[in-house]
């Protein structure tokens, strides 16, 4: 349909839209939008710093995060009296370099956040599409389950499941991936329901487009905006919850450097060596702040209607 319209452009609007497609103009457009929003730019930069440190951890970290050096143990950060620049953020109780452990720790956080959201978003989107598109009894069943899970005290159940299933990265990802499905189902279903009433879907149906075509070429492209926004917030929430589980000793095994595990160690030495707990926490706050600023900006840019929806 779109091809026909571009051959005989009847309005200026269609021609404009034609020029906007293509990858490069889109990038330029997004860059222009970013320039206007300083908080969004800051959020993106903060998030990129975390991503870069996770990807290039072996090149950025000054030490092996697992290497113990008992002679250098419990050293305070460099700017304090007893610290030195060998270990900029100091060392933990076993003499492991805190900066290196924080850099490597970003890998666990981002892996859990990214794959957790990937699972939750894809399954949630699928269920939401079915629920909103098919309706009737199927919809009632899916939404019943969704409302049940959303009514549970989330943290209590996540802790319960994690305690039963044991400590491994895969298990943590699966727990967050599956328990976070309901939010994506809700958003997708809501969007699909409001889209079903809209004129462009009605016209697609009236010219005889099959459900598959309607879903793939009309519904899905319009879902991307809201889902990316929610995914950003959910990813930052998962990074929090993962650190929380680690803090309770229920996330990845203690040998893996992760922010939660570091906090758990730091808590034991809180009153004597407070820096061990301080820096991994700052890393979590930094990441969360970046992703929330980024999410707020995405919400405004991708979908102006979402501005008023508060989680």
């Amino acid at each position: 349909m779109q091809a026909d319209a571009s051959v005989t452009p009847s309005t200026g609007l269609l021609v404009d839209q034609q020029q906007e497609t293509g990858l490069w103009p889109k990038i330029v457009y997004i860059a222009r939008l970013l320039k206007r929003d300083r908080a969004g730019t800051l959020g993106l930069i903060m998030f990129l710093i975390v991503v870069i440190s996770a990807v290039f951890a072996p090149y950025l970290a000054p030490y092996d995060p697992l290497k113990q050096d008992l002679r250098a143990a419990k050293r305070p950060p460099a700017w304090t009296e007893k610290g030195n620049w060998d270990h900029p953020l100091g060392t933990d109780n076993l003499g492991r370099d805190l900066l290196s452990r924080i850099i490597y720790g970003s890998r666990v956080s981002l892996t859990v956040g990214f794959f957790g959201v990937l699972i939750a978003c894809s399954l949630g989107m699928l269920l939401g599409l079915i629920s909103g598109y098919v309706g009737g009894r199927t919809d009632a069943c899916i939404m019943g389950g969704v409302n049940l899970i959303l009514a549970l005290p989330y943290l209590v159940f996540v802790v319960f499941i994690a305690a039963i299933l044991g400590r491994s990265l895969l298990i943590v990802i699966l727990i967050f991936g599956f328990t976070d499905i309901p939010i994506f189902v809700r958003i997708t279903r809501g969007e699909v329901l409001s889209m079903r009433e809209s004129e462009f879907i009605e016209s697609a149906m009236s010219i005889g487009a099959r459900p598959g075509r309607i879903i793939f070429s009309h519904v899905l492209p319009n879902l991307i905006g809201p889902l990316i926004t929610i995914a950003t917030f959910e990813m930052s929430a998962m990074i929090f919850y993962e650190a929380g589980l680690g803090f309770l000793g229920l996330s990845v095994p203690p040998s893996v450097p992760s922010w939660g595990n570091m906090l758990a160690t730091g808590r034991k030495y809180l009153t004597i060596y407070p820096w061990i707990a301080t820096f991994p926490g700052l890393a979590i706050v930094f990441t969360g702040l970046g992703m929330n600023l980024l999410g707020d900006w995405l919400r405004d840019v991708l979908d102006p209607r979402m501005r008023r929806v508060k989680k």
Partner: protein, 315 residues
């Protein structure tokens, strides 16, 4: 209204049945409960006898039915570790948790509502920036880390508050909190405060541009009357719902804070029983927390319906 309450009540009961189903099957995932109860060198015959005694050899569906009938009267079996009924342990720990959650809610309301009103009524100015900042900070600082930092600053460095434990004093037969509640309550309440600030701010902003507010201004009413009588009254309605939800979160989300401050409440009991792999107790706590949350949601919805006629008659 009665129909509305009735349908919400039925919905809540169905939900709690769903919760029972979930916690029952989650406990099955933990494996054979008998293996946790016997010593390592027990003979297979002994284990088999215990299984029979406890009824673990019956079909799953019968076990679930049994579990359901005793759960309805509040019987969740005994804690493997404490050798006491799980419900009794929970009820013993409940007052401390309620004290903490109430203190958190009070702190977050006392800071959050005024900040939200100031922010919403001066968009783009200093107070607005401050309230938006508070909303963001509440969302991005994890409470378990904040608790550690508060201990470092206010207990270790300044020595103003105790770093752990719960002290109470009795006055005219009432058990009252002491300053030991302040640090944990603040750490726990920061997230809620952020939510309340955000919510109040956007509600005030929205209501300020309504027609009835413009009418009130054009009648020449003074500012404070308009705020109290028209804006805040309307902003209070959605605030009810967020308070209900947040109180549920505070009651069930205190696992970190109670562990860090050795606060003798439910969250601490949960962390402790997970450490002991005392899953019968974990199961009971999970169900109890769900009952609290579902009940609070129900009460909130009813209050909401009473306060706002559009809810009762809509859908």
């Amino acid at each position: 209204m009665q129909r509305y309450i009735f349908s919400r009540l039925i919905q809540s009961i169905l939900m709690l049945l769903g919760v029972l189903l979930i916690v029952f099957f989650m406990l099955q995932l933990t494996g054979d409960p008998v293996s946790l109860m016997v010593s390592r060198n027990a003979s297979p015959e002994q284990i088999e006898r215990l299984r029979e005694e406890m009824g673990f050899n019956r079909p799953m569906i019968v076990q679930f039915g049994d579990f359901l009938t005793s759960a309805v009267v509040g019987d969740f079996g005994d804690s493997i570790r404490h050798r006491q009924p799980a419900m009794k342990l929970i009820l013993e720990r409940l007052p401390a948790t309620i004290e903490l959650a109430t203190a958190s809610l009070l702190i977050s309301l006392l800071i959050g509502v005024p900040l939200g009103i100031l922010g919403g009524s001066n968009p783009g100015r200093f107070w607005d920036t401050l309230s938006r900042g508070a909303g963001l900070v509440g969302q991005t600082i994890p409470n378990f880390w904040l608790a550690l930092i508060l201990i470092i600053i206010f207990s270790v460095k300044l020595g103003w508050f105790p770093s752990f434990g719960r002290n109470t004093w009795t006055f005219m037969g009432l058990t009252l909190p002491t300053r030991s509640v302040i640090l944990p309550a603040f750490a726990l309440g920061l997230f809620t405060m952020g939510q309340i600030v955000r919510f109040t701010r956007s509600a005030v902003l929205e209501i300020k541009s309504e027609d009835f507010v413009r009418t009130a201004y054009s009648k020449g009413l003074p500012d404070h009357i308009i705020y109290i009588r028209h804006i805040l009254r309307n902003a209070a309605i959605p605030l009810i719902s967020i308070i209900g939800v947040q109180f549920g979160y505070l009651l069930s989300g205190s696992i970190y804070i109670e562990t860090i401050f050795s606060w003798p409440g439910l969250g601490n009991l949960l962390a402790e029983s997970i450490g002991n792999r005392d899953f019968a107790l974990v199961q009971a706590i999970a169900f109890f927390a769900s009952v609290v949350v579902v009940t609070l949601n129900l009460v909130t919805d009813i209050c909401y319906g009473l306060a706002d006629p559009r809810i009762r008659y809509g859908d």
